[in-house]
């Protein structure tokens, strides 16, 4: 079972991707702090949205640690990591409804929000849908072993992308909350 996509070895990509994301976020933070543009008419979300989003981020964190931590350490997920991951995955599917409903940009209401926030929200929802879709299709007797392996590869890369984009989106929300954007 090859965990590669386009011959890119997944295990070797995890740490560099995380580091690259953190570097990008750091650079963004520096840029944001040096070019502060506070908006008083920024779109404010309710408490339900915020709680759902926090739960969503916690879910992403749990799923990422259990998945990527296991892969880096043992090559694949098993035992309690697998139990935690599948438990978190269930919550992720349902929390995604709330996040997509409340954080996807909607015309004039969120028009003035930061561009990074808007684009990262779209990418977050789309890659999350891809991550969920690959697992849902694996749970029904549709794909054969080769298909399951390919779905797993896509799931891994989509999951990695979800985690990285979630970091960027969270940063953008924090930057807006702190008044930098």
């Amino acid at each position: 079972m090859s965990p590669d996509l386009f011959n890119l070895p997944f295990v070797k990509l995890i740490i560099p991707t995380v580091l690259a994301t953190l570097v990008i976020v750091s650079l963004l933070a520096l840029w944001v702090m040096s070019t502060r543009r506070h908006r008083s008419d920024r779109y404010q979300r309710g408490w339900f949205s915020r709680i759902a989003y926090i739960a969503f981020i916690v879910c992403v964190a749990v799923l990422s640690i259990t998945a990527f931590g296991s892969i880096v350490r043992e090559g694949h997920m098993q035992h309690y990591a697998l139990i935690a991951h599948t438990s978190g995955a269930g919550a992720f599917v349902f929390l995604l409804i709330a996040v997509s409903a409340t954080y996807l940009p909607r015309g004039s209401a969120t028009r003035d929000n930061w561009t990074v926030e808007q684009w990262s929200a779209w990418i977050l929802v789309l890659v999350s849908l891809c991550t969920v879709a690959t697992m849902l299709i694996s749970m029904v007797p549709v794909l054969d072993t080769q298909g399951m392996n390919q779905a797993l590869v896509v799931h891994r890369f989509a999951g990695l992308a979800t985690a990285m984009v979630a970091i960027v989106h969270l940063f953008s929300l924090v930057a807006g909350r702190l008044g930098y954007r």
């Binding site: 098993q78 269930g90 929802v125 969920v132 549709v142």
Partner: protein, 691 residues
């Protein structure tokens, strides 16, 4: 002058003519030697004529005895020798080093692959069931470690072996004190016809077994082939007999050939096949449920491969070298990767570069919806092979262990008790590991029972023959350890005392009323326990007297039974028992079920349920000692699985179907929300652009 001699001569003369001994004489000498070896090897391979026709060769052949004399049915009463007869046309020396024959050769056991069926030294007189193997698989005992000679192994197990190639040199020396009657009986011959006979030709493997039991080693191939009738046996000859004396010659077995089997020119028709028929394999390799002697065989289906028309030898192949492919994953074979193509994966799945996938018409399984992690945790046989999972692990009977083929009344519960299938995790070498690692593979298993001693803190089994000599008198056993040890007969005075009635005391137990019968049975049970305890203590004491400084033990069903200082029986602590009392397990395959009957075909909860038989099936070891109490074991204890984690994992499968539906709905809803948000944004952008 043969062509071989001409070529060799020319090479030799060439080196003489040319003054090659100039500066460095060793180089041309080495080249000469290599050339001679190469040529010799080339001609050795071509030494045997072959027909090379798919039609085969019709074997009207002369028979030869072990002295290479042609057998004349009228005058020569010596049995035919497969080595001298078949060996005239077939490279017997190469064949004799094949897997079925080479167990006693030290060089053959350097890489023995995964554990397999042991030879079970079963002695009903002493209650011994000891797994023995030349191969040295963990959990088995090597014959030389027990002080058993190759001859003893041949005499004990040769009835279910096609032959045994005798080692030479130091390896041929029998352990000190062992029984070795090779000078009387000869070595166990390799009988080609045991495998290569055509079913229905009249070859009887059971006759082979009978002759080996009579120690008529040399006569067995002839008798089994039906060429003649053998009367008498070597068994009655004493160890120190002089075979050259006239008196002894009269006592040797007599062979009378069937004259009608010989053609007018003295040749005999040997009805054989190149590829052994399944029936030939079955004689040594039958396994059946223990209730099949009660007539349940018709309820079991054949292996799916046999139904598809395959034969045993289609997968378990070999070339002239007779290194039969065993077919397990990761098998190292002299053919290199070819053997891998004959495993389950090799035929059905192959690898990315495999050109052999689909051979013999093997369908490629889709395994739709099965997470690939299962292929790392389960062998193919775990889901597809053997009896379906049950609440209780059943018992099985096997050819060599239970002497199937022998015409006796069988209940199926004869010892040794062999259980199967038990799912156990093993590593790449086939050694058991704990449940967190390894691949679950179905196994058969048995608990050994034997007499031994604890010396220097370590348990060692006794030589079974030595154990018999020590314990037979104190145990007062003639034939059967279990039956005779538990057989009690109350005296008349005892019955009078129990029943309080002289008339009733003289009646047969089955004629008494229920209350009286119960009294008698209780009394017999008490006497039985006392008898067993007294005789076992006496036997253990006898061993300790013969072996001062050691503690005698009888191992049975995972327990070590010892005598205490106050004259009672007790169990040896586990730390002293070590691993020798642990069950020996070996992977089982075959009896492959069709896909619709494979494990998990009805859903994930077959294995991932809270009471799944995969982890929670039970088995109760049968103690050889009558009245021995044993505890029921749940399979996960043998698997050393983390049962708490399993329970948590199983919980997640409850409501899984409902969760799938809810997740699909949630996914669809999210898609709708996403699309609607996209539509809103697009329309907003469009309106903005048109203003």
């Amino acid at each position: 002058m043969t062509k071989r001699y001409q070529v060799l001569s020319s090479i030799a003369s060439f080196s003489q003519v040319r003054p090659l001994l100039r500066r460095n004489s060793s180089v041309p000498l080495l080249a000469l030697l290599l050339a001679l070896l190469a040529v010799d090897n080339l001609f050795a391979q071509n030494r045997y004529a072959t027909s090379d026709s798919m039609a085969g060769y019709v074997h009207w052949i002369d028979l030869y005895d072990e002295s290479n004399n042609k057998i004349d049915s009228n005058e020569n009463s010596r049995p035919y020798s497969p080595e001298k007869t078949c060996g005239r046309c077939h490279d017997f020396k190469t064949i004799a080093h094949g897997f079925h024959f080479n167990a006693a050769l030290p060089t053959a056991n350097s890489d023995v692959g995964r554990p397999g069926l042991p030879l079970i030294w079963n002695d009903p007189r002493t209650g011994t069931n000891l797994p023995v193997s030349f191969r040295g698989w963990p959990g088995t005992h090597k014959p030389q470690d027990l002080g058993l000679s190759n001859w003893q192994m041949s005499a004990k197990f040769g009835g279910y072996m096609p032959g045994l190639t005798a080692p030479t040199g130091e390896a041929a020396q029998a352990p000190t004190g062992s029984i070795d009657r090779t000078k009387i009986t000869g070595n166990l011959p390799i009988d080609c016809m045991l495998c290569h006979n055509r079913p229905g030709s009249g070859y009887s493997p059971f006759v082979w077994t009978e002759q080996i039991q009579d120690q008529n080693f040399a006569y067995a191939p002839t008798a089994a082939l039906g060429l003649g009738v053998v009367t008498g046996n070597m068994r009655r000859l004493k160890d120190d007999v002089d075979l050259n004396s006239d008196e002894v010659k009269e006592q040797l077995p007599k062979l009378k050939y069937e004259l009608e089997k010989f053609r007018s020119d003295g040749k005999v028709f040997i009805d054989l096949v190149r590829k052994p028929a399944n029936e030939s394999c079955y004689y040594c390799h039958t396994s059946a449920s223990s209730n099949s002697p009660q007539g349940t065989r018709w309820q079991h289906d054949d292996d799916i491969h046999l139904r598809a028309g395959l034969k045993c030898s289609d997968c378990h192949r070999n070339g002239l070298d007779h290194q039969t492919v065993r077919g397990f994953e990761g098998e190292k074979h002299v053919s290199g990767t070819f053997a891998a193509s004959l495993s389950c994966q090799g035929c059905h799945i192959g690898d990315d570069n495999s050109k052999s996938v689909g051979r013999l018409g093997a369908p490629k399984p889709a395994h739709k919806g099965l997470p690939p992690l299962h292929f790392e945790k389960l062998s193919c046989t775990a889901c597809h092979s053997g009896p379906q999972l049950n609440d209780e692990i059943g018992r099985q009977i096997l050819s060599s262990a239970h002497h199937l083929g022998d015409h006796i009344k069988r209940t199926g519960n004869e010892l040794p008790a062999i259980y199967g299938n038990v799912m156990l995790p093993v590593n790449e070498t086939g050694s058991p590991v704990d449940g967190d690692s390894g691949k679950y593979t179905p196994h058969r298993m048995m608990w050994p029972s034997f007499w031994g001693v604890v010396r220097d803190g370590k348990l060692q089994p006794l030589n079974p023959e030595q154990a018999y000599e020590l314990v037979r008198k104190p145990l007062k056993i003639r034939k059967d350890f279990v039956d005779e040890l538990s057989e009690v007969k109350l005296t008349l005075s005892q019955r009078k005392q129990i029943l309080g009635d002289d008339k009733a005391a003289r009646m047969k137990t089955e004629e008494l009323d229920e209350k009286q019968r119960k009294l008698i049975e209780e009394a017999e049970a008490g006497e039985r326990k006392k008898q067993i305890d007294d005789r076992m203590i006496a036997a253990l004491k006898e061993i300790e007297t013969a072996m001062p400084g050691s503690q005698a033990v009888y191992v049975s069903a995972g327990q070590g039974i010892v005598k205490t200082d106050d004259g009672k029986l007790s169990n040896l602590p586990e730390e002293k028992l070590g691993t020798l009392a642990d069950p020996y397990a070996w992977p089982s395959a075959h009896m492959v079920r069709p896909a619709q009957q494979s494990l998990g075909a009805t859903g994930c909860q077959e294995c991932h349920g809270k009471d799944s038989q995969f982890f929670f099936a039970k088995l109760k070891p049968i103690g050889t000692l009558p009245g021995q109490e044993t505890n029921e074991i749940t399979v996960h204890e043998l698997q050393k699985a983390d049962i708490q984690r399993l329970a948590q994992w199983s919980q997640m499968f409850e409501g899984r179907s409902a969760f799938k539906i809810a997740s699909l709905i949630a996914f669809a809803l999210t898609c709708v929300i996403t699309v609607s948000a996209l539509a809103v944004n697009l329309s907003s952008s469009w309106r903005k652009s048109t203003r």
